[in-house]
């Protein structure tokens, strides 16, 4: 296949199942653009998604796509990367998928720092199950399971990731395609576990955190003079600061990746080991038992 040049090369024939106006369209568009700009080959992209409206995205990116079970995309993806480190591994899922049922895996993916990209499509609700609170829903958010309002304080995935040893932490907004595309490219290029949280409004159920609401409630780190993404304490302060929602790359750092630590440098790719021929050295292993 020739070098990929256009987002179209990453499109599938499958019509999307999203509602008109869903923020997820923006995420998909930016992702295709990023893949194109990085001249990735669809055959070398492993795209693993969780379950949710967001999770359906794996059906719309021409690649080796895997749509697993709810909340387990990260362990699956980690293994895909270890099995074939030559692949560009990208994971996408919702705020519920990643921060509720998948929260434990999220923490461990962060500490392991495998070289892959994780896109959290955050609509602050459970879209596919019709609008219940997610871990990022605001306090008092009213919906089916909380007619009187959500009593659980929202969690800040990026702040938690920072505390857990995250090495690339960014947040975008699905109606800012250029910035998002740029972030995603940086994330894919980052040698380590890169998290891009995207504010992706659910137009059908979340009547609070709408496009309008976001436009009024976000600001950009780029507009913050002298913001230094290598300053961990500043990143923490910025992330936990109540009030408007900052967008941009909060923090980046380099430390050995899981694949480097486990596979070393000149390790043959697991998926192409010639196991069909039984390694003769294996016979000698029995000597230890004589």
């Amino acid at each position: 296949m020739a070098t990929v040049l256009s987002p179209k090369d990453f499109a599938t024939a499958t019509p999307s199942w999203w509602c008109a106006g869903c923020g997820d369209f923006g995420v998909l568009a930016a992702l295709k653009q990023a893949c194109a700009d990085l001249a990735l080959q669809p055959k070398d992209v492993a795209f693993i998604s969780g379950i949710g409206c967001s999770g359906k995205i794996s059906g719309y990116l021409h690649s080796y796509a895997f749509h697993g079970v709810h909340g387990r995309a990260l362990p699956t993806a980690t293994a895909v990367k270890l099995a074939n480190e030559g692949l560009t591994v990208i994971v996408a899922g919702g705020d519920g998928d990643g921060y509720a049922i998948g929260a434990g895996h999220f923490l461990h993916a962060v500490r392991r720092n495998a070289n892959m990209t994780y896109i959290v499509m955050d609509n602050q609700t459970y879209g596919l199950t019709k609008g219940q609170s997610s871990p990022t829903s605001m306090l008092g958010y009213k919906e089916g399971t909380h007619p009187e309002g959500n009593p659980d304080a929202p969690i800040n995935g990026l702040a938690i990731a920072l505390a857990a040893g995250g090495t690339f932490l960014a947040r975008g907004f699905s109606s800012e395609p250029k910035q998002m595309t740029e972030m995603l490219k940086q994330a894919v290029l980052h040698p380590g576990f890169a998290i891009v949280e995207v504010m992706s409004p659910c137009v059908t159920f979340n009547k609070i955190n709408t496009y309008k609401w976001f436009k009024e409630n976000v600001y950009h780190l780029d507009d913050t003079p002298g913001y230094d993404p290598s300053d961990k304490h500043k990143a923490f302060a910025t992330l936990v600061q109540p009030g408007k929602i900052p967008l941009g790359i909060f923090y980046r750092e380099q430390r050995p990746t899981l694949d480097q630590l486990m596979l070393g440098v000149d390790h043959p790719t697991l998926s192409s080991l010639p196991i069909e021929k039984i390694d003769p050295r294996l016979a000698d292993l029995q000597n230890a038992y004589t």
């Binding site: 059906g59 079970v69 293994a79 074939n84 692949l87 069909e276």
Partner: protein
């Protein structure tokens, strides 16, 4: 005088090293050319609490413990108290009387007692408490005539790493033990061992055989989360896989472990995980995913006594239902159950081939009494095994648009590309999908896809490991069982035969898809069918009754106290049903009454 036939029980407090010594003795017996089986009975704690290690050795190969213990090496009184009733009349006890004294309650006049101040000698003569166990080896060796040279060699090998000094101390400990016997005891133990050619054999633990089988089968990725008694497999792979290019990931939990296994397999590596009950329960959802995305994975289940945390270090066959019937919705899966250490190797290799050829999850079901037991086995024939990767497409040759990952086919299996293969891009979804992998809820497609996947269970039949038929194929008394019960059942067969009761035994090795024809045919002409299993609800019997329905002459033989069957328990069950056989001796009854 009993020659070349002995069962030694080594007992003390957990963490006092009796396991190491037990291993050494087992090795010594093996080197002396005897057939060996070992069984570990330890508590779910690290130090303290009664623990014991049973080593059975003889000229005949057994895959389980005997009715009786011949010799007890007791490091404390508790050990004698618990196990004295299990000693064969004429057997003996070696007791460390350094701090405790034997009570009259535990004395039996049909048992020889050898009291040796093991700890005292260790401390005062050798200046090292630790070698107490090694001294006991010297004592035992002198009493039963173990080859001193073999013992010294093994001890030396064992402690080499720890340096000359330690080796010296342990060799000295052996000698101190032997010396003590020669100086203090004239009474013969009644047991004697005569070395025979060892031959080219192995002494291997079930879990090691599973690990080794996986590596030979080409498994190069394992994800797992520690859990007794499956951790051994994880650690075996962690130690050996890297040398062959493989890696082992310790996951944060079993949910991650199973999904990592699926991820690695999806990417083209032969992958496995190993767990036990509680972890298996957590893997349930993931197994279903593997079934639908048709990803080949191998899952080792080292069963322990449930339910819930239950008795984590004890044995049980109560996970069979779960392996076969758990999970929402229906997928094809395979359950293989080795009955010996040797089978643990061969069936593990078979598991990887079946998984990849039919693109589904395959379980290897073992149990604490098998996976943590050692057996002497012939060398494993690598020439006898081969690797079949089925419809794996690794080197291209597929065209995007034409290629269909889930194409309908004769055998229900479709060509499988892995990431990186040009033209093979597709979506592999846990949702119902078309042959091309596109998610659809179309009714017709749905029915076809269900049939495609389930048809694999039919297509694979010729490739499934066959059941073993042991004993007299024409006998009217029949046994059906699997796993660790293979040992006690076949031993019961031999002894029943000696009593004039001929029997046959169907040792199932493929439990799912259930070998309905084999069972139907085997049962034909049987006057009595004894279904022997280690659980309370009769999980195996339930599978059999699907084929046979309830039968007046089908008799359950069940146990569920966490301890393996003793042959006598099976013999007894048979004799109770079959009137026309000689009464049992009192001692047997006594043993039966001992809850083990």
């Amino acid at each position: 005088m009993i020659t070349n036939n002995i069962e030694v029980l080594f007992g003390g407090q957990a963490g006092d090293g009796s396991l190491t010594t037990g291993d050494l003795i087992a090795a010594a017996f093996k080197r002396m050319g005897l057939e060996v089986y070992t069984y570990k009975d330890f508590p779910s704690r690290i130090r303290g609490g009664h623990t014991n290690y049973v080593i059975r050795a003889g000229e005949k190969r057994h895959y389980g413990v005997a009715d009786f213990v011949d010799a007890i090496v007791a490091f404390d009184l508790e050990c004698v108290e618990i196990h004295i009733s299990e000693v064969r009349p004429g057997g003996f006890v070696i007791f460390d009387n350094s701090t405790e004294k034997l009570t009259d309650a535990v004395r039996r006049d049909d048992v020889n007692f050898y009291e040796v101040p093991l700890a005292k000698i260790a401390k005062e003569q050798l200046g090292l408490e630790l070698v107490r166990n090694t001294i006991s080896m010297g004592v035992l060796g002198a009493l039963v005539g173990m080859d001193p040279q073999i013992v010294r060699t093994l001890v030396t090998k064992q402690y080499e790493r720890k340096g000359e000094k330690v080796v010296g101390q342990n060799v000295a400990a052996i000698e101190a033990g032997e010396k003590y016997v020669n100086e203090n005891f004239t009474r013969p133990s009644g047991y004697d061992l005569i070395a025979r050619p060892d031959g080219d054999r192995l002494l291997m633990m079930g879990n090691d055989a599973i690990g080794y089988g996986s590596l030979v089968a080409g498994c190069r990725f394992m994800a797992g989360y520690p859990i007794t008694p499956a951790t051994d497999v994880l650690e075996w792979m962690a130690k050996h896989a890297p040398k062959y290019g493989g890696i082992v990931v310790q996951a944060e939990d079993e949910l991650a472990a199973i999904n990592m296994t699926i991820g690695a397999a999806y990417a083209g590596v032969r992958a496995m995980t190993a767990t036990s009950g509680p972890g298996q329960a957590l893997m349930t959802e993931g197994i279903g995913l593997a079934g639908v995305v048709e990803t080949p994975i191998v899952v080792i289940e080292c069963a322990r006594a449930g339910p819930s945390t239950g008795m984590p270090t004890k044995t049980e066959q109560s996970n069979l239902n779960h392996l076969i019937f758990s999970g929402h919705g229906e997928i094809p899966k395979v359950v293989l159950a080795p009955g010996t250490v040797e089978e643990s190797f061969y069936l593990t290799v078979a598991a990887f081939n079946l998984a990849e050829k039919y693109q589904l999850p395959v379980f290897v079901l073992s149990e604490q009494a098998l996976c943590q037991s050692k057996e002497t086995i012939p060398r494993l024939e690598l020439g006898a095994v081969s690797i079949d990767r089925g419809k794996l497409v690794r080197n291209g040759g597929v065209t995007f648009g034409e290629y269909k990952r889930f194409a309908f086919s004769e055998d229900g299996v479709s060509p499988r590309t892995i990431p990186g293969v040009e033209g093979g891009m597709h979506l592999a979804p846990g949702s119902e999908h078309s042959d091309a992998g596109v998610i659809t809820e179309d009714a017709t497609n749905r029915a076809r896809m269900m049939e495609k996947r389930m048809h694999k269970l039919v297509a694979m039949r010729p490739d499934l490991p066959k059941a073993n038929v042991l004993g007299d194929p024409k006998a009217t008394v029949a046994f059906i069982g699997y796993g660790s019960n293979r040992g006690p059942i076949s031993e019961a067969q031999d002894r029943l035969a000696a009593d004039g009761v001929a029997t046959r035994f169907l040792q199932l090795r493929t439990l799912w898809p259930f070998p309905e024809d084999d069972v139907r045919n085997f049962i034909k002409g049987a006057a009595h069918v004894f279904v022997v299993e280690h659980n309370i609800t009769g999980q195996l019997e339930r599978l059999i009754r699907y084929v046979t329905g309830p039968l007046a002459h089908m008799h359950p033989v069940r146990k569920y106290n966490g301890r393996p069957f003793r042959p006598i328990e099976i013999i007894d069950a048979v004799k109770q049903k079959i009137k026309d056989v000689t009464k049992l001796e009192a001692t047997d009854l006594q043993v039966r009454s001992v809850a083990r």
